[in-house]
């Protein structure tokens, strides 16, 4: 094998065939495919801190470690019946996986995939809960939400053993969570009621606060055809841009006061609302049946500046680390399109089978990704 770095590589999930493609984002080509990853209908990836290994979390509870240079599976375990995502610890040694069935979090040694801790998510109500919104946080911590129980838990591994801190009654049906890029704020979206649950990890004695609790009152909600994702929430210098649940709206919130600044009407129910790495633009994709469209918001004027039609069933967008390009997957066209983020020109179209998430190796060095 010719010597090369991994810093410009990416992995894209091919959800229908249980495979991934390895992409070179400099030459903008596919350089290989790895098969045999099981049910990837809702899959995500984190990277080892040397950015050589990609850990794929599959819907069927499969956890697979892939060597993206050698393009092969290093190790694969089925760790639960049904999982939703994972995270890697600050020091890169621990992998945490959040599971629906049985509900809980399992923590593995990232080099061997040996089980280190099994944390059943039994809420205050005594019932086992699905776990969503699992992220890593500074200080060898993992933070996640209990969907059925309405709780947020912090698991701290700084002493080697898991120490759990629980926050109960945080709101009804938290469906996803995110952590701000600096690792300070954990925010859970609530499906069962209006508003969001905010935990300030720099001031955890203050507990979980409700923000934007007035949002949506008095208006009839539309049915939600796909749950929005919070990961990759756009947080720029002054604002956070959030997908409104069940509305064709992007919310702009002052990131100091967490008060709403503006509602931007958009093409559909937003799924991903993602900031270009420099924060100058926010890109938005939409739920069925408006999922053929991507819109770009100017973060100075807070107005839409561009509408793009990348293909049928746009599932994900991933920026190159410095933001000059964005890679967009269109599931039902079986392609990935690469856009220039200044000219909005299509630079490349690559074939992929039912592509969903695109994960660049630069995630290896970002908290919460």
């Amino acid at each position: 094998m010719e010597l090369r770095g991994t810093g410009d590589l990416a992995v894209v999930i091919e959800r229908a065939t249980g495979s991934v493609q390895i992409l070179d984002t400099s030459s903008r080509t596919s350089i290989g495919q790895v098969k045999g990853l099981g049910d990837l209908s809702h899959a995500s990836i984190v990277y080892s801190r040397d950015a050589r290994y990609a850990y794929v979390f599959g819907r069927d509870g499969g956890l697979t470690k892939i060597d993206i240079l050698e393009q092969k599976i290093v190790k694969r375990v089925i760790q639960s019946g049904n999982s939703i995502g994972g995270a890697i610890s600050q020091d890169g040694r621990l992998l945490a996986v959040s599971n629906y069935t049985p509900g809980g979090v399992k923590v593995f040694n990232s080099s061997t995939l040996e089980l280190i801790a099994d944390i059943p998510a039994v809420g205050n109500n005594g019932l086992r809960s699905k776990v969503v919104g699992l992220v890593d946080a500074p200080g060898q911590q993992f933070v996640f939400s209990l969907y059925d129980a309405g709780e947020i838990w912090i698991v701290d591994f700084s002493d080697g053993k898991p120490e759990i801190r629980k926050f109960t009654d945080i709101g009804l049906l938290p469906y996803d969570g995110l952590i701000s890029g600096n690792g300070r704020f954990y925010i859970a979206g609530l499906f069962g009621e209006d508003g969001l649950a905010l935990l300030d990890l720099w001031n955890i004695q203050d507990g979980v606060k409700r923000i934007l609790s007035d949002y949506g009152k008095g208006q009839r909600k539309m049915p939600v055809y796909k749950m929005p994702h919070l990961e990759g929430w756009a947080i720029t210098d002054n604002y956070a841009f959030l997908p409104a649940v069940g509305r064709n709206t992007v919310l702009v919130v002052d990131r100091n006061t967490w008060k709403e600044v503006k509602q931007i009407p958009v093409h559909g129910q937003p799924i991903f609302v993602m900031s270009r790495p420099d924060g100058r633009q926010v890109w938005v994709n939409y739920a069925f049946p408006n999922n053929d469209t991507v819109e770009v918001i100017d973060t100075l004027t807070l107005e839409k500046m561009k509408t793009l039609k990348p293909g049928k069933a746009v599932l994900h967008m991933e920026f190159t680390p410095r933001g000059e390009h964005v890679w967009i997957s269109a599931r039902d066209n079986n392609w990935i399109k690469v856009f220039d983020t200044d000219t909005f020109e299509v630079l490349t179209t690559l074939p992929a089978k039912k592509p969903s998430g695109i994960f660049m190796s630069s995630r290896a060095h970002q908290t919460g990704l």
Binding site: A16, G18, D39, R59, N82, T101, Y175, K354
Partner: protein
Amino acid sequence: MLPMRKLKIIIMQLKRICRRDFLFALIFVCGTSAVTAEITEARQAELLNLLRQDCGSCHGMTLKGGLGPALTPDALATKSGEMLVQTIIGGRPGTPMPPWAPFLSQEEAWWLVNILKEGTGVVAQP
């Protein structure tokens, strides 16, 4: 003796009844709705894609469950077709299950329910 013309009409009626009974038998045996024939092949492909991809985003592409419950034949065995059709068409208030009425007819929902109960809607994972 019946005139030839009348005989022909009776035979035609008999044939129609037979065909209807045959269709009823099909419904009974296969659990397939008579309206299947009216859903074009192209539309069936669309419905299957919707089932796997869009229903699959909550129920899992292999329909073994996710944020939403499993939709495997075992999981649905005790649920009536009417209830399932109603859930698809009207959604389930208080849960994330939305009403699919804007995108599906009653007949198409029945078609999907039959597919689900038979377990023929999902391709095996490679």
